[in-house]
């Protein structure tokens, strides 16, 4: 993947997020013009980027969505739930494609079909008959107003000639604009056109007027190929499957068809016909041709245009055309006549495409918007920041070595001034290194709003599916935490949201019956207290009944009955975090499989935090995730066992105790002791690590580190306890990455490598 593609993936994801936010907000708060405008721009930019990396299918889908938003912006369509749904569905697809593109640098083979389907759905909303707004100035052809301009022009130009033939049930109009470079790709656009079955009419025209022959590039395609045919849309789509972005296919509704030949259509499509005739004359005049043809061409064009205008009972305009003809002949240039015809085409009483005009205006807006908001942030690869953190971490470790040196200088005591100066310098370096490390860690801090952002959409969709009314309140989105933590919050939060919406929040009827407001309030709140980052998920639903939890836990054998009975009502709620627990009577597609809350607890533990729940029956439930603010710096305790040094995460250490042999009791082959009325098993760390036990073992006072891992309390027997340190933990790399029992390594002040234990894997 090259840099351009990488940039595209990053940017596309940001734009998708932004557009999703705006769409949801649009639906919730109504259509503030800025919102629609922002959403529109996001789609527009996204479409442009997709074009740059040559993803025609993506461009096609986004283009349709863009048109829909343009229509909403222009007030031609309401921002209905259906419209938002379709636009969101389009974003979902695009998001999946971005993932595919990132993985394989291409879109799946069915992307074209999917794109067309999305585009069709979006366009169906656009062409849905709405009573007001779409009726064009031309009377009688209202549904034709929904047809794009090119299709209308094609029908106007070709419809008359084929109207007499027996028309198929639903004819289609095709507009194929091959890319300029298509010949280089080996394309032969006519070849595709030849394959269209049941052709009724074909038109091949230039997209931009032809340059003088000397400047013509024979290898740049400047053609627009149009056709009307009796084949159905799917067949045509299949023919053009490789160029979905370059082809447009519309079904022509029967009432868009000129049912009767031109003469009798006089009371209907007059201005449309007149307009088409005049446009054609203008086109003919703009084609470069030999000077000797000039007089004839101007004369023929002016005569045709004037006659058409008289036919449309616009004698005043016809006279104007004849005046322009005289001027053109006098000046020897077609320009006066061309501009006169153009002026007529622009008159609102002759123009028929007033429906499309606002869309054009809006589409042009982003292009000439010169003061694009410049983002004040800098995008840096996460790996670079991590490298910086590692360096700063090593600096701190080295600085610790410096302290060692300063102490030695003081101890030797020959030059106290030197020792003092060294100490001073050390203090300064220590302060700076600390600040540097903190500043770099700050770089990794990201607002939790990043992960909150996905939830308005999720909550909306889920509430719709469950037919519940839920208001999502988010607080403290700006609260920052380490990126690793924020990134991993999504999954636990997702489970919490699912559970709350599915089980916690009652249906509208139940809420009414309970005397609660029909709309439930679901709150996600992030706060920072000291060095902890606290995330609360609060619902005002039915609450969790401790009795139900007890019953379920018994049914599912999650706990011994006597253990369960010993728990207080508050404590028993924690059982919901056990694997396999579910209060749901049946598994729904949203939740109830009993895996969710387990994941919440496991993730919180992995991040060095814990989760708790409080609930009041009938009032609501609060789940609280208590997490560290950053995880780059870990606090460890250094211990010795079997003549080696190990680190233990301080989070897991409850206390350290010294025991005389008489306090230790042997239960079968296991040793244990009683600590505050609890039996705590003793496990020798040396033994667990397969190291020779120290020779003094079992003779004298024993040193124990009492640890708690996953709620299990175990005392680790060690030979010595050394200092406590704040270290930068590096994950095990290379060959060692598969070594079990370690969570990482760090360097000690004297340069020794310290292995930090993963107690979960070490303990039997």
């Amino acid at each position: 993947m090259n840099a351009l593609h990488e940039q595209f993936v990053i940017e596309a994801r940001e734009l998708i997020e932004q557009a999703t936010d705006d769409l949801i907000a649009m639906e919730r708060d109504g259509c503030a013009p800025e919102r629609i405008d922002r959403a529109f721009r996001a789609f527009h930019t996204l479409k442009g980027s997709a074009g740059v990396v040559a993803l025609p299918a993506m461009t096609l889908a986004l283009h349709a969505a863009e048109d829909l938003l343009a229509a909403i912006h222009a007030g031609r369509l309401p921002a209905s739930a259906a419209a938002v749904d379709q636009a969101l569905a389009c974003l979902d697809k695009v998001s999946a494609w971005v993932d595919d593109f990132e993985a394989s640098a291409s879109l799946p083979s069915n992307a074209g079909d999917d794109a067309r389907l999305i585009a069709e759905r979006l366009r169906a909303l656009l062409s849905a008959p709405t009573s007001e707004g779409t009726a064009p100035a031309v009377g009688g052809a209202a549904p034709a107003g929904a047809l794009p301009e090119w299709a209308q022009a094609l029908i106007r130009a070709e419809g008359v000639t084929i109207a007499r033939e027996k028309l198929p049930h639903r004819p289609c109009a095709v507009c194929y604009e091959p890319q300029a470079g298509c010949f280089f790709d080996g394309d032969d656009p006519i070849q595709l056109m030849r394959q269209i079955p049941g052709v009724l009419a074909v038109r091949i025209e230039e997209r931009a007027s032809w340059p003088p022959l000397a400047d013509l590039d024979p290898f740049a395609c400047n053609l627009r190929l149009l056709a009307i045919c009796g084949a159905d849309g799917a067949t045509i789509s299949n023919i053009f499957r490789l160029v979905p972005d370059q082809v447009r296919i519309v079904e022509i509704p029967s009432d868009a068809w000129p049912r009767v030949p031109a003469v009798e259509a006089a009371d209907g499509d007059v201005s449309a016909l007149v307009r088409a005739v005049i446009a054609e004359q203008r086109r003919v005049l703009q084609i470069a041709s030999a000077p000797e043809d000039f007089v004839g061409r101007v004369g023929a064009a002016a005569r045709t245009a004037a006659n058409a205008l008289r036919h449309g009972e616009r004698t005043d305009l016809a006279a104007g055309v004849e005046r322009a003809q005289t001027t053109a002949l006098a000046q020897g240039s077609t320009a006066p006549l061309v501009s006169a015809l153009a002026a007529i085409l622009e008159r609102p009483d002759v123009a028929i495409d007033s429906v499309d005009a606002p869309a054009v205006g809006l589409a042009a807006a982003p292009a000439d918007e010169s003061e694009r908001r410049v983002s004040r942030s800098l995008r840096v690869d996460e790996a670079k920041i991590d490298a910086l953190i590692n360096l700063a971490g090593e600096l701190i470790v080295r600085k610790n070595g410096f302290a060692h040196l300063a102490r030695r200088a003081e101890d030797v005591g020959t030059d106290t001034d030197f020792a003092r100066a060294l100490r001073r310098e050390h203090d300064a370096v220590e302060r700076l290194a600390g600040e540097l490390h903190a500043a770099i860690l700050q770089l990794r801090m990201v607002p939790v709003g990043q992960v909150f952002r996905s939830f308005p959409r999720l909550v909306r969709d889920m509430a719709l599916r469950l037919d519940k009314k839920v208001e999502l309140v988010m607080r403290g989105e700006a609260t920052e935490s380490d990126k690793t933590i924020v990134d991993r919050l999504f999954e636990p939060l997702l489970h919490l949201v699912r559970n709350a919406l599915d089980h916690g929040i009652e249906s509208s009827e139940q809420r009414r019956a309970a005397g609660k407001p029909e709309t439930a309030v679901f709150t996600m709140r992030a706060t920072r207290t000291g060095d902890r980052f606290v995330l609360e998920v609060i619902d005002d639903g039915r609450g969790i009944d401790p009795a139900t939890v007890r019953r379920r836990a018994r049914e599912r054998d999650l706990m011994a009955p006597d253990e369960l009975a010993a728990l207080s009502d508050e404590q028993v709620l924690d059982v919901i975090f056990s694997a396999g627990f579910s209060t749901a009577a049946e598994v729904s597609d949203i939740s109830g499989r009993g895996v969710g809350m387990d994941v919440v607890r496991a993730t919180a533990a992995q991040l060095g935090g814990h989760v708790s729940v409080s609930s009041q029956v009938g009032v609501g439930t609060t789940v609280r995730l208590d997490l560290p603010l950053n995880i780059a710096l870990s606090r460890i305790m250094v211990v010795e066992a079997g003549q080696q040094v190990f680190g233990i995460a301080l989070d897991a250490v409850m206390e350290t105790v010294r025991l005389t042999p008489d306090r230790i009791s042997q239960i079968k082959s296991n040793a244990g002791f009683v600590l505050r009325n609890r039996i705590v098993p003793i496990c020798s760390l040396a033994e667990a690590m397969n190291l020779p036990a120290s020779p003094t073992a079992g003779l004298e006072t024993r040193l124990l580190v009492v640890t708690e891992v996953d709620g299990r309390i175990v005392a680790l027997e060690v030979d010595a306890i050394r200092e406590r340190l704040e270290v930068v933990l590096k994950p095990m790399q290379g060959l060692l990455s598969n070594a079990r029992g370690y969570s990482g390594t760090t360097l000690l002040g004297d340069g020794e490598v310290l292995l930090v234990l993963n107690l979960r894997e070490v303990l039997p």
Binding site: F183, D188, I190, V199, I204, W210, L213, P218, I287
Partner: protein, 73 residues
């Protein structure tokens, strides 16, 4: 060669006219003041060649030998 200039200056398109014919055809059309083009024996026309014909609008002799082009263009 499927594009050639006849003795009287008429340009002939013959047989299967591929994308390669577009440039020589354009060259010939540019060189001739009032070009005539005979495409009756052209059996198949590539889009690029057709584009040159549409842009240059030479005087055409007879219908195009490519049935699709003759019918629809």
């Amino acid at each position: 060669m499927t594009v050639r200039r006849g003795e009287n200056g008429t340009i002939f398109l013959e047989g299967d006219c591929t994308v390669e014919e577009a440039e020589p055809l354009l060259q010939m059309l540019q060189d001739a003041p009032h070009p005539m083009l005979d495409w009756t024996t052209c059996s198949r026309l590539h889009t690029a060649v057709l584009q040159v014909v549409l842009a240059a609008r030479p005087a055409l002799i007879g219908p195009c030998g490519d049935p699709w082009v003759a019918r629809w263009v």
